[in-house]
């Protein structure tokens, strides 16, 4: 039996209107990956923030390697060997990787920064853990997956033994996730302990030695990794059996809603990010874009939704070119958008849920009257309705958006964009960070929207999601749609093959 690194006992934390953690007990052994799963708002992040000294518990105790202690702030947490990789990275973009890692721990002599020693130490850590990064590049120039490595190096540099990962894979491609798990294995082999939070149960089953399920702030059960199954975990999480499948309605696609013609786009360095992209999406149809992240999907969505200027080509909504329209005109004409980065683009965090749920329609009746005066009653009614339909877990519609759990924030955005009753819905990673029950619900809502004759353009890093929802699938590679399939005529393997650009090479 290996040593207990961490023991949290009977942790209770109450927020106004919510009991977020209700006598939760949780422990972590040396050399194990202990997964923490539960519905959105179950209290996972809260528990971890307590461990990291960001929240203070109302009651309960924490001991590390047998010694009881109270952690008042992140500094103390770090000193006790706890490291946390937040879902939103805490890096300083214009600083180099090296500077980001040593920040706050600089070694200096007469006020002059010594970068030699730290660089050596970091190289050692990189080799030992398979976390290879060029330490002299700026963080703003490296992709998300690599930034995460920097975060991990940062906490290892500070000597962490207990590593907390709150939904680390939500922003990763499946390949990057595999890399991360390799790193997990190397870390546990060195005797570190890892707490892993994820809504992707396949991943949890793959990597976790033990799995603790929490529901509504309470521990339901701690399972052994090899005695668990997806349906068992799901049932424990939700409290009743979960179907885990979408009912795809039989809808025959109608007229063309979105037509994209020969779209070209270059980025600020004059590198082509979209290259002669053409496709159509019909009413009542889901068009899925598959592809490794960073192959132009983000840019494609942003030229349609956000009115980003294009080099060449045309975008037609219901036969009308929207290229010269601003965002408001596009929205008013029936384009809705679930953005990929919900914090940056989706929510006004200090504003109430009610206000956030009408954002983008807030200028229309009945939310304002003819004199442009806000009708707060209507806004709140609308909010209450949407909150109950979408099962958003919140004390009230007047709660600020920042008080919601990550998954519930995502539900707010999905609910808002669907309640606008769009002609065309641009859904980028619509279920990122959302629990399985809610994922199922969102999928069914999308199918409902399809039944109502809406056109849906879906971008997702999750190939299963693309496969199960789409009628047609376009594979994007290096800014091009290199192949288009109907769902029936292809397989996951074949799409994966195209995603790597293999067929393109074969052809040349």
């Amino acid at each position: 039996m290996s040593e207990t690194l961490l023991e949290m006992r009977k942790i209770t934390k109450r927020f106004p209107g919510v009991l977020a953690n209700d006598r939760i007990s949780f422990d972590l052994l040396r050399g194990e990956v202990h997964a923490l799963v539960g519905e959105n708002g179950a209290g996972k992040t809260t528990l971890m923030k307590i461990l990291y000294g960001l929240y203070s518990p109302d009651s309960g105790s924490i001991s590390i390697k047998g010694g009881k202690l109270s952690i008042k702030n992140p500094k103390e947490a770090i000193n006790s060997g706890i490291g946390m990789v937040h879902q939103h990275f805490m890096l300083i973009p214009p600083f180099t990787v090296l500077e980001n890692i040593i920040i706050g721990e600089e070694t200096q002599k007469f006020g002059i920064l010594n970068e030699e020693k730290p660089a050596e130490k970091i190289r050692g850590l990189m080799e030992k853990n398979g976390l290879i990064v060029d330490i002299n590049t700026k963080v703003e120039d490296i992709p998300v997956g690599i930034q995460q490595r920097v975060e991990i190096l940062k906490i290892l540099y500070r000597g962490a033994e207990i590593l907390v990962f709150d939904e680390p894979t939500a922003v990763l491609t499946p390949q990057e996730a595999e890399e991360l798990f390799k790193t997990f294995r190397q870390l546990t082999a060195q005797g570190k302990g890892i707490i892993f939070i994820s809504h992707k149960l396949d991943e949890v089953l793959e990597i976790a030695d033990r799995i603790t399920v929490i529901r509504k702030g309470q521990v339901v059960k701690t399972l052994d990794g090899n005695e668990a199954s997806k349906s068992l975990i799901a049932e424990l999480m939700v409290g009743k059996p979960v179907l885990l499948e979408v009912k795809r309605p039989d809808v025959s696609p109608g007229r063309v809603i979105l037509e994209v013609r020969n779209l070209d786009l270059k980025d600020y360095r004059k590198i082509a990010v979209l290259n002669d992209v053409s496709f159509t999406v019909h009413s009542g149809e889901v068009y899925g874009i598959a592809g490794v992240e960073g192959n132009g999907q983000t840019e494609l969505i942003s030229v349609i939704a956000e009115a980003a200027p294009i080099e060449h080509g045309d975008i037609l909504l219901d036969g009308e070119s929207v290229v010269n329209w601003d965002v408001r005109k596009r929205r008013d004409a029936g384009i809705s958008h679930i953005p990929e980065d919900r914090h940056k683009y989706g929510l006004l965090l200090p504003f109430t849920l009610a206000e956030n749920l009408t954002l983008g329609m807030h200028h229309k009746k009945p939310f304002v009257n003819s004199f442009q005066i806000i009708n707060r009653k209507k806004i709140q009614e609308h909010a209450r309705r949407v909150i109950s339909i979408f099962d958003i877990r919140t004390p009230s519609e007047l709660t600020p958006a920042l008080a919601l759990s990550g998954g519930n924030q995502q539900k707010v955005i999905v609910a808002r964009e669907l309640s606008a009753e769009p002609k065309l819905l641009l859904a980028a990673q619509p279920t990122r960070g959302v629990d399985i029950g809610a994922t199922e619900f969102i999928h069914n809502q999308l199918m409902e929207a399809k039944k109502e004759g809406r056109a849906i353009l879906l971008v997702s890093a999750d190939l299963d999601e693309v496969m199960s929802l789409s009628d047609r699938i376009g594979v994007m590679y290096k800014g091009k749609i290199i192949k288009e399939f109907t769902r029936e005529e292809t397989t996951k393997e074949e799409i994966g093959f195209y995603m790597m650009g293999e067929k393109e090479h074969a052809r040349n």
Partner: protein, 368 residues
Amino acid sequence: MPGIKLRFDRYKLLEIFAPVAGFLASIVVLLIIVIVVGESPGEALVAIYKFSLSSSAKVATILSVSIPLFFAGIAVAFAFQSGVFNIGAEGQYYFGGLIGAMAGIYLHLPAFIHIPVVILFSMAGGALWALIPAILKVTKNVHEVITTIMFNSIALALVNYLVNGPLSGLGQGKSLEPQTAKIQSTALFGKLNGFFRMLGWNVPDYVYLDYSLIVAVITGFIVWFVLFRMRHGFEIRAIGISLDVSRYSGMKVKQLQLSAFVISGALSGLIGLQEIFAIRGYYTYGIASGLGFDGIAIALIGKNSPLGVVFASLLFAFLKQAGYGLQFYTSVPNSVIYVITGLMILFIVVINEIVAAYIRTLRKKEAV
């Protein structure tokens, strides 16, 4: 839920407590300085009291002094709500006041039209002076702090030149201070002192509680209504939170910034009303200066909310009066008094910020 209400109230209380704490701390510093310069702290306190709260006349004076401060605060706060740092209220009221005064001097209208007209001209002048920095910001991305500071100097120089040169009214008046011609009586602001006396508040004649007080009350209400009850204000507050989110939801971010900036300029134009149309009756570049900068501190202490600005401007008016009190009743040198009022403001702002930061961490710990 009742729990939420309670929490909110507790933080509100702390927030209100912040300026009070800053105020008390600044009094302590004041007493220390007074002791250092060799005066009796007791006498100093008496002096302050005598000059600020000792009689209804003194209280009325504070209210009177707070009027231009209120306009300054609300002008800056409006821009702050949208994330625009309008440091140019100073230049905007110099210029706005001049335009308003021109309308008062050269237009011939009956009083019931003339007064609204000079108010609107003052606002238009202020707006105009904000317009160029605003356009530079939204089209060329030139930071407003730099442009507005430069425009403050330009306004000062321009007004100085105009009042000494083309618009000089010397020869009519007896004063040697460079000034414009007299504003027509139809555009002068009458006093409300009689009205207050009727209500039983004994406001002596030398205190200026004039029409600008009415303008202030109406302005405060309109600003509150626009910001918190109208779509335009909602969008202005939204861009103050996140430009990206606002843009994604279809708001015309640049237009909103421009309008918030220009409205802030228009509000700045009101700062000079009392001095020009009630107190002096002519325009001079010697109208009280520095109010635009006071406005920044007032907006900060008032948390950019109209009601907060009301309290903050009263507090500032009190500080100013306290300064005069020291000047009159003690032998504390003038320069030291400026230091003291400056320090008091600094203390209030700093303690305010410390408490705000403390509330933020409390919120983090307990949330909401």
